[in-house]
């Protein structure tokens, strides 16, 4: 049985990886999809065309690589921590993605949206003060 401190360190180290690589992946995906263009025709033929364009885009592959890193960290942390702890705790990434959207992609963000992001981060801090595991090991 690991000590609570070691369990918390392991949990938060992997959540940090999730917070960095999740938003990075989202930004790469948005950049890739912006290059491909907005989907306005939802017919199967056009979706097949978009599907091919998606997997021919270097940006999309960078996004996928970042999200895979996120996915590995997420998978590992779920082997001991509660899903309802990990999912909200990782939401700190929402603040990071807004910052990246503003300063990397040049997106316009209203004050209300910034406040919303701030409240999300406060929610995350509260969640972070709950125990990572509330169920017994099988």
């Amino acid at each position: 049985m690991k000590s609570p401190a070691a369990l918390h360190f392991k949990t938060f180290a992997l959540i940090l990886v999730m917070v960095i690589f999740g938003p990075l992946g989202d930004v790469f995906l948005r950049k890739g999809m912006r290059e491909i263009g907005a989907i306005s025709d939802w017919s199967l033929a056009n979706l097949a065309h978009v599907f091919v364009a998606v997997f021919a885009s270097g940006m999309i592959w960078l996004g996928i690589a970042s999200l895979l890193t996120f996915f590995v960290a997420f998978t590992l942390v779920l082997s001991w921590a509660d899903y309802s702890f990990v999912q909200p705790a990782s939401s700190f990434a929402y603040g990071f993605v807004a910052v990246l959207g503003r300063y990397v992609l040049g997106e316009s963000i209203t004050n209300m949206r910034w406040v919303g992001v701030l409240i999300i981060c406060v929610g995350v801090l509260i969640v972070g003060h709950t125990p990572p595991r509330t169920t017994e090991q099988p």
């Binding site: 938003p23 989202d26 930004v27 995906l29 948005r30 999809m33 912006r34 491909i36 263009g37 907005a38 989907i39 939802w42 978009v50 999309i60 999200l67 997420f74 998978t75 590992l76 779920l78 082997s79 509660d82 899903y83 309802s84 999912q87 909200p88 939401s91 990434a93 929402y94 993605v97 807004a98 990246l100 959207g101 503003r102 992609l105 997106e107 316009s108 963000i109 209203t110 004050n111 209300m112 949206r113 910034w114 406040v115 919303g116 992001v117 701030l118 409240i119 999300i120 981060c121 406060v122 929610g123 995350v124 509260i126 969640v127 003060h129 709950t130 509330t134 169920t135 090991q137 099988p138």
Partner: protein, 125 residues
């Protein structure tokens, strides 16, 4: 607008469903103690033999393609915070589907996150 609502629904429901299945799969396999590459490969080798893992891949793939669709239509600083609607679904699913005890404090955090998401939506401008 209809396309956006359908895509968000898919991201939330298929994505969260996939993550819940992944949690179930990981809990079946057990906690990771050894982080060396060979041990991690063995761990993932065990993961692919669990049915829940493949259901998770299916749900998360559907959520991923819905996310790509949304990202072709809207800014990342709007799309990603809005997908946090899955938090309510996650906490609910965690308590019902996985038997996790979601404490009142954790519910409060989730509630705040949801309020934040609402403001992000209203601040679309």
């Amino acid at each position: 607008m209809l396309a956006e609502i359908i895509l968000i629904f898919l991201i939330v429901v298929a994505g969260t469903g996939g993550e819940l299945c992944l949690t179930r799969a990981m809990k079946t396999i057990g906690e990771v103690h050894d982080f060396r590459p060979r041990a991690l490969l063995r761990f993932f080798g065990r993961a692919v033999t669990v049915g829940w893992f493949w259901l998770a891949i299916l749900g998360m793939a559907a959520g991923f393609f819905a996310l790509l669709g949304m990202l072709s239509l809207e800014n990342v600083s709007f799309v990603i915070p809005v997908t946090a609607l899955s938090y309510a679904a996650g906490a609910l699913g965690g308590s019902i589907f996985l038997g996790e005890r979601v404490t009142p404090q954790r519910w409060l955090g989730v509630l705040l996150v949801c309020i934040g998401v609402t403001l992000v939506w209203k601040g679309k401008g």
